[in-house]
């Protein structure tokens, strides 16, 4: 970086920071609104990711502004953790769907305290999730040696 270009660079850098922060804040706010208003589990999950990425953008912006790699390193970590978290969260979502046949978060409001009344905004048609058969993943790899009394698959995960 040349010394002459320093003031210009500083001005551009500030503008760049502001822009990036605004983008990050918009992403975060969108995610927040999404997670508070949407009931679809996958959309809620996506909204959470959106909030995460909004933070990541601002981290990168600050990192660049200060000329410090720490923020960007943190973003790499966030991405890694988010990938893992996505795997785990999707399992939960899948399991929840397998149980209720819905992706609606409100389908789980039976977990409320017994004294509270159920909050209903719109009555949904009854689900036949228990009767429906959902596709299972096919086993991959070599079929293990099995005897008569070791089941191929576990009954419950």
């Amino acid at each position: 970086m040349m010394p002459l270009a320093a003031p210009l660079l500083a001005a551009t850098s500030m503008a760049l920071l502001q822009n990036a922060l605004i983008v990050g804040a918009i992403l975060f706010a969108l995610g927040l609104v999404g997670i508070l208003t949407r009931r679809n589990l996958i959309v809620m999950f996506l909204s959470a990711e959106l909030m995460l990425q909004g933070i990541s953008v601002s981290l990168v912006a600050w990192s660049r502004h200060h000329g410090d790699w720490g923020g960007q390193v943190l973003v790499i970590f966030v991405l890694t953790v988010a990938a893992c978290e996505a795997a785990v969260a999707l399992v939960f979502v899948l399991q929840a769907f397998a149980r209720t046949g819905r992706l609606d978060a409100a389908a789980w409001q039976a977990l409320r305290e017994a004294i509270l009344v159920r909050s209903v905004d719109r009555e949904l048609p009854p689900s036949d999730a228990a009767a429906a058969s959902w596709p299972r993943l096919t086993p991959a790899g070599v079929l293990p040696e099995r005897t008569a009394d070791t089941p191929l698959e576990r009954e419950h995960v």
Partner: protein, 741 residues
């Protein structure tokens, strides 16, 4: 085997039954129906040791036919095993108390400071040797009898462990040489008694009777505890015996020879009387005297051998033993001594009256025991040498014939399948001849028919009461030891007394009781009691053994003579019941032997010794009373069906009073039991509503708080998220507020 020294034997007498008890407890399940072996072996060996001790002591005392002129030397041997508790400087007088205590001739000196120590010491003297022999010999016979009586009982090993434990405790009680050790074993025999009364604890009556016995005894035990405290405060020691301190001086014990040789050594006055009355209370509890007699009849719920051993022959005589042991203390307080006599005489009469209308054979014997113990108390209360020896004489003969009668009753009960109501059986002399014959011998002894044992001991008691009631008629028997010169001479010596009024200067409370008129009344009461005793004894004999043979259906195939293991002890006990009185009286052996007991060699007791004479006039009066009683019983019951209501017709309304035992139980129920139950109910209510309310109130706090907070758990994820966002917002706002300026 080398001959065992008396000290070793003295330790063995209590130790062997203890070992027997422990072995029975440990091996009871293994031994099963042979569980009696360790207990019987232990008690038998102890009985052997006790007899050897008795002979050794008798050898030291010497023959009664020696010279009557020289005074009898006290015979005592102390064997200190170990020091149980030692507290240095347990009593330190305040610095300003060196001056004389106002109104007394005693001052507290700084040198009076002393340590408290409890030596576990066993003593051997004629009184202890006599008691040990009775306890172990009767205990042995009862244990052998129990082999038959208790067979097939599920608690067989437990019974023998308890009997053995009782013999140990009782032996320690009479061999201990310290008031605190006496107290410990006083409680121990009470505990054994409780466990044996409640032996069949699944039976509600037995459990209730055990509780009653224990609680009533607590009243007496309380007296002994307070008496022990007072004795320590007064004498600065609890030992009976003198001890040699390391620096060579003699520390006089309460009943040691140093103190007894000194007329001023024993405290009279208010403190002395208080001690004696508290000891009397203790004796009343253990020996079932009025007003604490109510537990003994109920104690008959226990197994009959336990009744024979504990509630007839041995434990109930602990009170007699205690008062005899403390004879010098009582003699120094004539008022308390008279109280002993009055309690005893009244108890004898009241219990005999109750016994006349009882229909339960064991309860007749129980009231008879109370009555005979009353005789002994009346005799003790005369405070003369003859009074004390006569009481122990009666104790010895009574132990034999009352154990015999109880075991006879047990034999009847065994054969009748547990039925003990005399109205439901009769004519059993044909069914069980050995029991009938031995029971008759015991009854003759109890009724005081010459020449059976009770006649002589009862005659001595009547004689001692007579000598106090009509002192002039007996005055020629008194020797010169009571002359003022002798008394003044012994008064010179001084033995430390820490805290008390001087015995000669202080007033003697209750001394108005100590008049010939009191003893005259007691003599007539005793004579009437003698007649009543003969009546109720033979009423029981006639109802049980004469008339047409009747057997209750509960008896089943049991209605036959008891096995030899039960009849053998009866036959053995019948011999002393018939002969011991005559032998001991004619040779004067027991009285002479006992007079060498240190407590009875105190000048105040020894001076009352009278020559050994047979009072023909009293014997005739006593026999006449007994004969009248037997004749009335014969008129009422001989040859009749035992369920015929003779007594009801004869006594009329009095029968109701006697049958209700003079309403003692009702009185105590109203005065003690009901108020205490009411108090317990109040306490229960306080516990339920105040204490529990407090605890439950504390427990409702989290419930209430949780009730508020639980409304937040709606099950709607969005609300949780909103709450989180709100929280973050609040933190951000708070931070902004802080950073604002």
């Amino acid at each position: 085997m080398p001959p065992l020294s008396p000290a070793t034997l003295l330790v063995l007498v209590p130790l062997l039954p203890l070992v027997g008890a422990i072995l029975t407890i440990l091996l009871g399940r293994v031994l099963g129906s042979r569980a009696h072996l360790p207990a019987i072996a232990g008690i038998a060996a102890a009985a052997g040791a006790a007899v050897m001790l008795l002979l050794a002591t008798a050898n030291q005392v010497g023959s009664p036919h020696g010279s009557h002129q020289e005074p009898i030397r006290p015979v005592e041997m102390i064997s200190t095993l170990w020091q149980w508790a030692t507290v240095d400087e347990a009593y330190t007088p305040a610095a300003d108390s060196a001056a004389a205590i106002p109104g007394t001739a005693v001052s507290r000196q700084p040198s009076d400071a002393r340590s408290f120590s409890i030596p576990v010491a066993l003593r051997l003297d004629p009184l202890t040797a006599t008691m040990l022999t009775i306890i172990t010999c009767v205990g042995l016979l009862v244990a052998i009898y129990s082999v038959g009586y208790m067979h097939d009982d599920p608690g067989y090993p437990r019974f023998f462990a308890l009997v053995s434990m009782f013999v140990f405790s009782m032996a320690m009680l009479v061999a201990a040489s310290n008031f605190l050790i006496v107290y410990v074993f006083w409680e121990a025999v009470g505990a054994c008694s409780y466990l044996l009364i409640g032996f069949w604890f699944r039976k509600p009556e037995a459990a209730r009777a055990a509780k009653k016995a224990f609680l009533v005894n607590r009243v007496g035990d309380f007296g002994l505890a307070i008496a022990t405290f007072l004795l320590w405060m007064t004498y600065g020691t609890l030992d009976f015996h003198d001890t040699l301190s390391p620096d060579g001086t003699i520390l006089p014990g309460i009943l040691g020879q140093t103190r007894l040789a000194d007329a001023a050594g024993i405290v009279g006055g208010v403190v002395g009387t208080a001690i004696c009355l508290l000891l009397l209370l203790a004796a009343c509890g253990k020996s079932a005297q009025l007003p604490l007699h109510v537990w003994l009849p109920d104690a008959m719920e226990g197994p009959t051998p336990a009744s024979a051993l504990i509630h007839a022959a041995t434990m109930v005589t602990a009170g007699i033993y205690l008062i005899t042991r403390c004879a010098p203390l009582f003699v120094a307080c004539p008022g308390a001594l008279s109280a002993v006599s009055i309690v005893g005489g009244t108890t004898a009469l009241v219990a005999a009256l109750i016994a006349t209308v009882q229909n339960d054979l064991k309860r007749v014997l129980a009231y008879s025991t109370i009555s005979q113990l009353g005789y002994m108390f009346a005799s003790l209360g005369t405070g003369t040498m003859l009074g004390f020896t006569a009481a122990i004489f009666h104790l010895v003969t009574h132990a034999f014939f009352k154990a015999l009668l109880f075991m006879g009753a047990g034999s009847v009960m065994h054969a009748m399948g547990g039925v003990i109501d005399m109205r439901r059986f009769g004519g059993l002399r044909r069914v069980m001849p050995i029991t009938a014959a031995t029971f008759l011998i015991g009854s003759l002894a109890l009724a005081g028919v010459a020449p059976f044992a009770g006649f002589f001991s009862k005659d001595e008691i009547l004689a001692t009461l007579h000598s106090r009631g009509w002192p002039d008629a007996h005055s020629e028997h008194h020797d010169a030891a009571a002359s003022p010169a002798v008394a003044a001479a012994v008064r010179q010596a001084s033995v430390p007394v820490l805290f008390a009024a001087h015995s000669q200067t202080a007033s003697q409370p209750l001394s108005t009781l100590d008049t010939p008129a009191t003893f005259r009344t007691l003599f007539w009461m005793a004579l009437v009691t003698a007649g009543l005793t003969a009546f109720y004894t033979f009423r029981a004999v006639f109802m049980t053994f004469t008339g047409p043979t009747r057997v209750p259906e509960e008896a089943g195939h049991h209605a036959h003579e008891s096995p030899p293991v039960m009849t053998l002890p009866l036959v053995i006990l019948a011999v002393p019941s018939a002969l011991a009185g005559w032998w001991l009286f004619s040779t004067n052996w027991l009285a002479h032997f006992l007079s060498a007991t240190p407590s009875l060699t105190a000048p105040s007791v020894a001076k009352t010794a009278a020559p050994h004479v047979f009072h023909m006039d009293l014997a005739i009066q006593g026999s006449l009373a007994a004969a009248i009683g037997i004749v009335i019983a014969a008129i009422g019951h001989l040859g009749r069906r035992s369920d015929a209501p003779q007594m009801e017709r004869f006594l009329g309304p009095l029968q109701t009073v006697f049958a209700n035992k003079f309403y003692f139980d009702q009185l105590y129920s109203a005065l003690v039991v009901r108020p205490l139950e009411a108090l317990a109910m109040v306490a229960a209510l306080i516990d339920r509503y105040v204490i529990d309310g407090l605890v439950n109130g504390v427990a409702t706090i989290p419930v209430v708080l949780g009730g508020i907070v639980r409304r937040l758990q709606s099950g709607l994820v969005q609300r949780y998220a909103l709450a989180g966002v709100m929280g973050v917002l609040m933190i951000v706002l708070a931070l902004a507020w802080q950073l604002r300026g």
